[in-house]
């Protein structure tokens, strides 16, 4: 009963904030609503007894990744906000139409399979979630875990290379050699 109410609250918060992310004009406000979406998703993870992922969600997503987003938004200083014009309006309507089509498709798919699958959630495990995830991560998924560290190393090198910057932009937007 309590979990159902909490699910409704967190789910509603997540959907409303996600809508505000894509509808708000100001990118800074969008980013802050995205933080709220991530936090409500962390609440849903707690309801699903994924405590480790809930903490990682708050620390990594809502903390680190969104700080990076806000930093770049404020660094770029986008004061010019134009979302008008006829070609853009047409493009927007086509985007909405395709998006709503996808929504209908998802709804039909879910409607046909509603209630399929397991009835209730599994019984809570005795061992802590973090410990269980760690056990699995360092045994069966050890190799993917190591590959992930290589991926992060590549990302660091790539970000440094991209962030070094070259010179001033050319007169016609052509990169200088």
């Amino acid at each position: 009963m309590m979990t159902t109410i909490l699910f409704g609250a967190f789910g509603l918060l997540a959907v409303v904030c996600a809508l505000l992310v894509i509808l708000h004009k100001n990118p800074v406000t969008s980013a802050l609503f995205l933080v709220l979406t991530f936090c409500s998703l962390a609440g849903l993870y707690l309801l699903l007894q994924a405590e480790f992922l809930a903490m990682v969600q708050v620390i990594v997503y809502a903390g680190a990744i969104m700080v990076l987003f806000l930093f770049v938004i404020m660094y770029l200083n986008l004061d010019r906000d134009v979302d008008d014009g006829v070609p853009h309006a047409l493009r927007r309507w086509v985007g909405w139409a395709i998006g709503l089509l996808l929504l209908v498709e998802t709804a039909v798919l879910l409607w046909n399979r509603w209630g399929a699958g397991p009835e209730g959630p599994a019984a809570p495990v005795a061992v802590g979630n973090t410990s269980a995830v760690g056990q699995l991560l360092y045994t069966r998924y050890l190799f993917p875990f190591e590959v992930t560290s290589v991926l992060l190393l590549v990302a660091i090198i790539g970000a440094v290379m991209l962030g070094k910057g070259r010179t001033q932009p050319g007169p016609s937007g052509v990169p200088p050699q």
Binding site: T3, I22, L34, Y61, L100, T106
Partner: protein, 105 residues
């Protein structure tokens, strides 16, 4: 209408589908590359929610491991993607995707 004692799996999947669709609409509708990037994050999180829900209802922790990997990939993707957006801004003085048409030919 009476509320069920435990939340059914279908509810989580419906929520995940709704969030994913909102992300798709954001990518299609918005012109700001940063907001498009945020919408992509939204789609990744919708997939993560489905993973965690299935992991809980199918008595298996593997889904949570996958969410861990998805988060790692998302972190790397954000670092590289934002660096690319900053470089594009240095070059073109804009982050609006329909004004970035160097490869249009």
């Amino acid at each position: 209408m009476t509320l069920p004692a435990a939340v059914p799996l279908s509810w989580y999947l419906a929520l995940s589908g709704a969030l994913f669709t909102i992300g798709v609409i954001g990518v299609l509708v918005r012109r700001n590359a940063l907001v498009i990037f945020m919408s992509i994050e939204l789609m990744l999180n919708a997939a993560n929610l489905a993973f965690v829900a299935f992991s809980r209802y199918l008595h298996s922790l593997d889904g949570q491991i996958f969410v861990f990997f998805v988060m790692t990939v998302a972190a790397a993707e954000v670092a590289i993607g934002l660096a690319i957006i900053v470089n594009v801004f240095r070059l073109k003085e804009t982050v609006y995707v329909d004004e970035i048409n160097l490869m249009k030919g």
